[in-house]
Symmetry: D3
Subunit: 131 residues, 6 copies
């Protein structure tokens, strides 16, 4: 169970409801997932985290699906079960196919392998790679 | 210095040279970076790692640039200095702009933040996210 | 289930019971949590780990609650479910409020975010920060 | 060298200068460290990160020094060289003694050890620890 | 549930069955564990991963049990529940005793502790350790 | 530079010298590496860490070289530069060959890859692997 419990919409303060409303409006859904309900115990963190994600995940130089796939890749690399489940769902909502999912996982796996080979072999950065 | 040293092309066995040649041909370059020269001390690992990367990073359901950006994102999340330097260079070679780089980093940072918030608050996976 | 099972007090050797007794006396409780019961399969590790924790977590330049909150912060950062659950309970026993818990989590999240931004942007250490 | 370079005050846009000014005013210093100068290449991330840190690190249920010590503990656990150097300096500025530093490190080390023992032994969470 | 589901032998394509057959023949078992059934949704990754593991885990300069114990040690350090469970079983199949398991865990725990002490204290590499 | 500096033998208190003497006697060397000189600023941690390592790394159900190779494997997986350098040297002192080093690194890399594939695909633990 979530450490501080989950704050349901009906029990939420106006401050928390305002964030929930913006999440639902931005995502065009009536669903608030447990992450937000847990953070709602600390309204300042709820608001700051949502505002940050909203800003970061909006389409820019990268489209929304690519950003979501990077979010999923990092969550898989960090082995965070909740994050993998929620961002797999989010990426699928934005159009990620099963084939794309499998390719992301292959890259995540390979990057984790070569990151350790490089470190373990104590490889120095090539002069050419220094900015 | 690399633990087992770096194997230069002129000192390489035919088996190692064959991999080097394939790297240069595939990447359309005459440059072999230190990672491969370090791995060349173990030709089986050199070949296996190169064949795996070649297969994984080839365009498929995801294009080559997106794959490279995911590789960079995971390397930044893992805080691997060599990997960040080399995959930043690789992604730029494939067209990554400074604005795209900055957006990748913003997503990597945010994912690392929320991964810990979720874990720390002991948030349970929403029924809806279970496949 | 714990890999080597859990050693209950009634089944424990005198060597293990001596550690259990010291844990209960030090913590003023009659409760031994599963971590110790699992380690008890390796009495040397049980004793060494308990003696180390007892020494480290005793009040010193930092008070016991601050140490417990740091332990919890690191466990949340490492995303260790058992450790988060047990050290949240321990910190609450020592007086951690819900508001303090929320602030710890906010710091943990932020530190994980900026750690990756620093690494990803390849920021060099300022001369002023070198000791 | 920082991937996108460092933005010095004299070369900064008004938007970036406003953040720099707030950092210096809040911290009562005329020093802007490299982290901010690197982020300044992405003004939205510069502003968001600074506003978040300013909010999170302000005294609340925890005092400013305790928060800074937790930030340092997480950075040490994550093995981020820049972050360790900069947050050691920041914690010292807020009053951290050498003895406190040593105790933080002892807790960080121990937490990392027991986190792995718990995971490796597959210890289940005690019923009592479930909220 | 596995994101893309599990591919059972009876439902598998000839390409996937060929890998399954090789796994069972190499391991002298009729059991295919869930990891492979999950990867089978991406036959190229299934084949590449199996061929890599088969090559890496074969006896060489290190015997098969030592390799399996290192695999388990890294999985415990990474806190991957599935990997710990499966590689504990694999190591036991190859002869790992409970006493050896306990000693591996003690080393894993200690390495994680000293890795952070070294990083946190910003210890420079001794000249003698540079290759 | 090490945060609290390095304590040389000639400047050490009798308490610290006693640990240094035991390190040198146990390891049959006159060399104290920087890790211990950094920890010596906190004599309690110096003693506890040395006593723990001495106990854990002594031959038992596993021989000293195997333990050292596991220590190196975990350090490479954690990407700790100092630890990789020092434990590569220690393992070589105990007889690790270049071929063994390369095989350890291959296992470390592979374990890191499959740990993420398992997590990313959300694979459930096989009933058979539950103890």
């Amino acid at each position: 169970m979530a450490t501080l419990g989950l704050v349901e919409y009906k029990d939420a303060t106006p401050e928390v409801r305002a964030v929930y409303d913006d999440i639902m409006a931005t995502r065009k859904t009536d669903f608030i997932n447990n992450f937000w309900k847990a953070l709602a115990n600390d309204p300042a963190t709820l608001r700051r985290t949502w505002e940050s994600i909203k800003q970061i995940m909006a389409p820019g130089a990268l489209d929304a699906l690519t950003k979501e796939m990077i979010y999923l890749a990092v969550s898989a690399s960090n082995q965070c079960p909740y994050c993998i489940a929620s961002h797999t769902a989010a990426a699928r909502n934005k159009g990620m196919t099963d084939a794309q999912f499998a390719e992301i996982m292959a890259v995540v796996g390979m990057a984790n392998e070569t990151n350790r080979l490089v470190s373990g072999y104590q490889v120095e950065i090539d002069e050419r790679f220094r900015t």
